[in-house]
């Protein structure tokens, strides 16, 4: 059931609170992401950015508040997790891939085993995705044989193979050596250009500025400031935003 007064958002968070024991990590997060919109979450460590992503795909349960993904209420007790995770794909910072399977098998596994799609079709799609992330020829390589950047690109292809509507990237370049960051960012740029709704948690400021439609700044569990990249970087409103940008830029 969508709120008829606001435009239908693809992903909408409303006053989400999350505490781990006594520590309150999310103190009332509200944000919405429109279809094909690219949103970046930026902020200091521990401000709750990753937690927001994990709440969206129900990896972490929330305490109060509502999260809606294309009509699916994530906070519902009777949530159909599979339906949700078909719509939302996620790529993590490290140790993503299944080390005991080849790159191609990694990409193909979930559609076959979870969705029950026929192997032939999935293989065709998987090979296309592998080519799209520019890793043709690496079908039979094991993750242990791939560089960090290559692994992340396979991880992105793997998430894409489930045909999601939303892609979430949780600091996916943070653990990479600098020379590999670019190739992964290029891949993300391609995914964004294809019209995918994307939510990124990232420290790559230049990339955020270039690719994002909106940037949200989080600090201590709250969204402090939201703006277009231009306004955000050039004219930060809040002093906390200013302080953070001074430190990182």
């Amino acid at each position: 059931m969508t709120d008829s007064q606001t435009p239908s958002a693809h992903v909408r968070l409303t006053d989400v609170h999350k505490s781990f024991g006594k520590t309150e990590v999310l103190r009332g997060i509200s944000m919405s992401v429109a279809r094909s919109e690219i949103v970046c979450l930026i902020g200091p460590s521990g401000s709750g950015k990753s937690t927001i992503l994990r709440c969206i795909n129900a990896l972490t349960p929330t305490n109060t508040g509502s999260i809606k993904v294309d009509g699916i209420e994530v906070t519902d007790a009777k949530l159909d997790a599979l339906a949700l995770r078909r719509k939302v794909g996620m790529v993590f910072q490290s140790y993503n891939l299944f080390p005991h399977r080849t790159a191609l098998q990694n990409i193909m596994m979930a559609p076959i085993q979870v969705l029950g799609e026929p192997r032939r079709e999935v293989e065709v799609r998987a090979r296309e995705l592998l080519a799209k992330v520019r890793l043709e020829g690496k079908e039979n390589a094991y993750p242990g044989e791939l560089s960090g950047g290559q692994q992340q690109r396979v991880a992105i292809a793997r998430a894409l193979c489930m045909n999601p509507e939303v892609m979430m990237f949780d600091e996916v370049t943070a653990a990479l050596d600098p020379e590999m960051v670019k190739e992964v960012l290029n891949t993300i740029r391609d995914v964004a250009r294809d019209g995918m709704t994307c939510i990124l948690v990232t420290h790559e400021m230049r990339f955020a500025r270039e690719v994002a439609n909106r940037i949200h700044f989080t600090d201590k569990g709250r969204i402090v400031e939201s703006n277009t990249p231009q306004e955000f970087f050039d004219h930060p409103q809040d002093e906390r935003t200013q302080a953070f940008l001074d430190k990182v830029l």
Binding site: N57, R86, F98, Q113, E145, A159
Partner: protein, 248 residues
């Protein structure tokens, strides 16, 4: 074979070193049978321990806390008590109480043979170790790998079967191999309830010929040889399952 026999008989006459187990056909057959029994004990006990340990691992995944607690009690009890005491408790205690190891009123053979008791005892004892090995193997799977599986839509059961267990098993292989070696060493304990394995047969031979030193050396070499063979098998298994880039 007879050349070797003659040489050892000659050795006996010349030096007094009596390796009767080699040149005496009857003893040789009996000893080899003993070795085979020791191997059978080890293999069955290994399979049994994997079964028990695997069962514990599955039960530990359940949400029912008393069940998980039960497994913990079992594991701690069998890890912290001596195998021999467990065997005696099983064979002499439970065996006679439930009439499993006793002969029937008109001389019917017992329901469970000493061999089977040893297998059950070792399975229970080492099943506890396997349960712990599998537990740390599962814990060693990085959290983000598990979360990646969840994000792809794997429910807990599917994730366990397709992702967690294959990885946990590979991580556990060295420890499982060590477990096998321990089991092989423990089969000697079957001596205590008169299972005719290698040590027991050796004992029979040396009480007859008084060639304790020779027999002890033979037994020692036998067990070292068995350990070597099993270690090799495990190493081959590790190599077969090895995935490039994985492992220590």
């Amino acid at each position: 074979m007879s050349m070797v026999d003659l040489w050892f008989e000659g050795l006996n006459q010349r030096t007094g070193w009596n390796f009767s187990v080699i040149y005496n056909a009857w003893e040789r057959a009996k000893y080899i049978n003993g070795v085979i029994i020791a191997v059978e004990l080890a293999v069955w006990a290994f399979l049994g321990s994997m079964l028990v340990g695997g069962l514990c691992m599955l039960v530990r995944q359940s949400r029912v806390r008393p069940l998980r607690w039960l497994v913990t009690v079992y594991v701690e009890f069998f890890r912290n008590t001596p195998g021999l005491a467990q065997l005696y408790f099983l064979f002499f205690g439970i065996g006679s109480y439930f009439q499993l190891s006793t002969y029937g009123p008109s001389g019917e053979p017992p329901l469970l043979s000493p061999f089977q008791f040893v297998v059950i005892g070792l399975s229970l004892q080492y099943g506890a170790f396997v349960a712990e090995i599998l537990r740390s193997g599962i814990e060693a799977v990085p959290r983000s790998t598990v979360e990646a599986a969840k994000s792809l839509g794997y429910n807990p059961t599917r994730a366990l079967f397709h992702v967690i267990l294959p990885l946990a098993f590979r991580t556990s292989l060295p420890a499982l191999g060590n477990n096998m070696a321990q089991i092989v060493k423990s089969t000697a304990m079957a001596y205590a309830i008169a299972v005719p394995e290698a040590l027991y047969v050796a004992h029979e031979i040396w009480t007859e010929h008084f060639n304790v030193v020779e027999m002890m050396n033979v037994v020692l070499l036998t067990y070292l040889g068995l350990m070597g063979v099993f270690t090799l098998i495990v190493k081959l298994l590790e190599r077969w399952l090895h995935v490039p880039g994985m492992g220590r």
